[in-house]
Symmetry: C2
C-alpha cells in the first residue's frame, strides 16, 4: 500500500492523522507541484486529480479520505476510530459528515475563492476552469461561525465530538478548524467548549501537520 | 424507529430508496411545511433543521442520509447495499461520496440559487439568511456536465457504479440526476453508458419518488 498525499491540503491530513493514531506505517508520497497545484505527473496518472489516494499493491486505487479510513479501520481495528457498535458508528459518521460539510467545505470556499493561486480553480479535481466566486468568501465565514457555535454546544457535555472516545469526527473537525485558520478565521471567544477541545486535540502527537514522507522535504512548519 | 422525511428533497429520498430495496417497513413522517420549507414544528424540535432524520425508540436521533443507511445496513444486512468485503465497501463509499459531492451538491446549487422560494436560503439547515449566489448556477451546470461524463466512463465496463451489484453509490447517483433534472439539466446525449444505467435503475420499484407515508398525502407525482 502507498498513500498519495499533498502536505498543505486538509483532506489528506485527515488520513495522515488516522495513520498516526493507529500507528500504521506505510509509504507516503507527496505529489504537490508548483504554485499550490498537484504535480502534472500525478494528474496524468490519476485523472480524478484529488488527494488523498491509497494505492493497493495490485494497483487498485481508493480515493476519498473517509473511504480510505474505513478500509484501513477494517485492516487495523485498534484503536477504533469509527465506532464500536452500530449506533456509535452512526453517530461518529454523522458528526464526521457535519464537520466536513458544515466546517471543511466553507473553509475551502473561503481559501479557494480568495487566494490568487486558485484563480480558475475554485474547486479541486475539476478539469475545466472554474472562476472564483467572491461571494463564497463571505458565505463561508458565516457558515464557519454557525459551525463553531453548533460544535461548541455539542462539546458541552462530551469529551469528544461523538462521546468519550477520540474518533474521525474529531479528526475532520480539527482539520477544518486549522484550515479555516489559514484564512484568518479563528475560534470565537464565546466557544469555550470548542476551545477546550481544540487545545486538547491539537496536543495529540498525531496532530502535527506532517508525517514521515518519502521525499525528504520539510513539513509545512519547516521542520 | 421513525424516519422524518420531506418528499420533494433529494436527501431523504436516498433513505427511502434504501428502505424499499431492503424491504424495511418503518413509519415515515413528512415534515414539509409551506412554500418549500420544513415545518416550524420540526425545526423547533430538531434545530439541526435537516432531513432525513431517523429517531430511535429511545429518542436518539441519527442525521445524515448515509449515517442512517449504514446503521440500517447493520440491522438489516440483506441485500447488502454498502459492500460485502472491506475493499468492496471502500469502492462503494468512494463512488457514493463522489456522486454526492460532484453530482448532488452542484444539483442543489443550481436549484437553490435559482428558485425564488430559496431566496436567503441558498444552503439547507442554516439559521441565518444566506443570499442566493447566481454564479453558482452556472458553476453547478459545468460541474454536472463533468459529473455526467466521469460517471459515464465508469459505467463503460460495469453494470452498476461500483461493480456488478446495485449499491448506495447507484442510489445517490440516481437521486442527483433526478434532482438536477428538476432544474432542466438532463443527461447529455453522448453519455450512452450512463443513460443505459439510468433507464435500468429508474425502472426498479424502489425508484418511485415516494413511499408509504403516514400523512396520507399523494406523492410528488400526484399518485
Amino acid at each position: 500500500m502507498k498513500l498519495y498525499d499533498w502536505s498543505p491540503a486538509p483532506n489528506p491530513r485527515r488520513v495522515r492523522i488516522f495513520l498516526l493514531e493507529k500507528n500504521i506505517d506505510i509509504p507516503i508520497e507527496d505529489v504537490g507541484g508548483d504554485n499550490l497545484t498537484l504535480s502534472p505527473e500525478y494528474v496524468r496518472a490519476y485523472p480524478e486529480a484529488l488527494v488523498p489516494m491509497l494505492e493497493l499493491d495490485d494497483g487498485t486505487r481508493i480515493g476519498e479520505a473517509m473511504a480510505i479510513c474505513r478500509y484501513l479501520e477494517t485492516l487495523y481495528p485498534a484503536p477504533p476510530l469509527m465506532g464500536t457498535d452500530p449506533l456509535d458508528a452512526a453517530m461518529i459518521d454523522m458528526w464526521e459528515r457535519r464537520a466536513w460539510e458544515q466546517g471543511m467545505l466553507p473553509a475551502i470556499d473561503v481559501l479557494r475563492n480568495s487566494l490568487p493561486q486558485f484563480a480558475d480553480r475554485s474547486l479541486a479535481g475539476r478539469h475545466v476552469p472554474l472562476p472564483q466566486i467572491p461571494a463564497l468568501i463571505e458565505r463561508g465565514r458565516i457558515n464557519l461561525n454557525q459551525f463553531f457555535t453548533k460544535f461548541d454546544v455539542q462539546l458541552e457535555a462530551r469529551h469528544f465530538l461523538a462521546g468519550e472516545r477520540y474518533t474521525v469526527a474529531d479528526i475532520t473537525t480539527l482539520c477544518a478548524i486549522d484550515f479555516a485558520s489559514l484564512s484568518g478565521v479563528t475560534l470565537p471567544g464565546h466557544c469555550t467548549n470548542l476551545t477546550r477541545w481544540y487545545r486538547e486535540v491539537s496536543a495529540r502527537p498525531s496532530s502535527v501537520l506532517s508525517v514521515k514522507r518519502t521525499d525528504g522535504k520539510p513539513n509545512a512548519l519547516g521542520q
